[in-house]
Symmetry: C2
Subunit: 92 residues, 2 copies
DNA sequence: CCAATAGTTAGACGGATGTGAATATAGAGC
DNA sequence: GCTCTATATTCACATCCGTCTAACTATTGG
């Protein structure tokens, strides 16, 4: 669980997730994201990978482009955890 | 905001907060905490400081002992953020 | 098949982070 | 005031993390 929170604990990743989760289409092309940050493309790729490994986003390739979308169930799960202040089970 | 999530992104800190938030008395003496971890006391102190700086816990000294308690409003705020998937404002 | 574009991976490097040992501070009790 | 206990702070050090450049893979279109 700490891993998930750690994934959220970086400004770039938090903003990436924010953009992905808030996008009207429900998914975002990586090409739309890279321009919005002043870090190089590989760095974006690295952060997206961490978000993926934390189970926060999913992705698939369509043609040349790769699309990311949030795993909302996971976000809800995190939210519930904090709401309950029942973090008892989180320390694993 | 990333700072708050980063504070949660360490196993020791997550468990510390968990213990503090779940304690029946609403607060916990540091002396109760140190034994539960296999890291040295200064390390616990260090982690508690980070939780404090993230605005997740508050503390006060009573005699020789120091007591920590959760700032529940902050936890609720985090929870709401993830629930809404309205992370839009979080990236700051 | 070749060139061009989108994205990822590999390697290197500096700076941040978690830890322990030693030291310091605060309060209680003599 | 001195001593003992509980916590915090400082310092040093090894590891982890975020970033870049360069090289690689995948896909499209000539």
């Amino acid at each position: 669980m700490a891993k998930v929170f750690k994934a959220l604990g970086d400004p770039v990743r938090l903003r990436l997730l924010s953009l992905i989760a808030a996008h009207p289409d429900g998914e975002v092309c990586v090409c739309e994201l890279t321009d919005l940050f002043d870090v190089a493309a590989p760095t974006i790729s690295y952060h997206l990978k961490l978000l993926r490994e934390a189970g926060l986003v999913d992705h698939d390739r369509r043609g040349t482009w790769v699309y990311y979308r949030p795993i909302r169930e996971r976000l809800r799960q995190l939210s519930a955890l904090l709401a309950a202040s029942d973090l008892a089970g989180a320390a694993r």
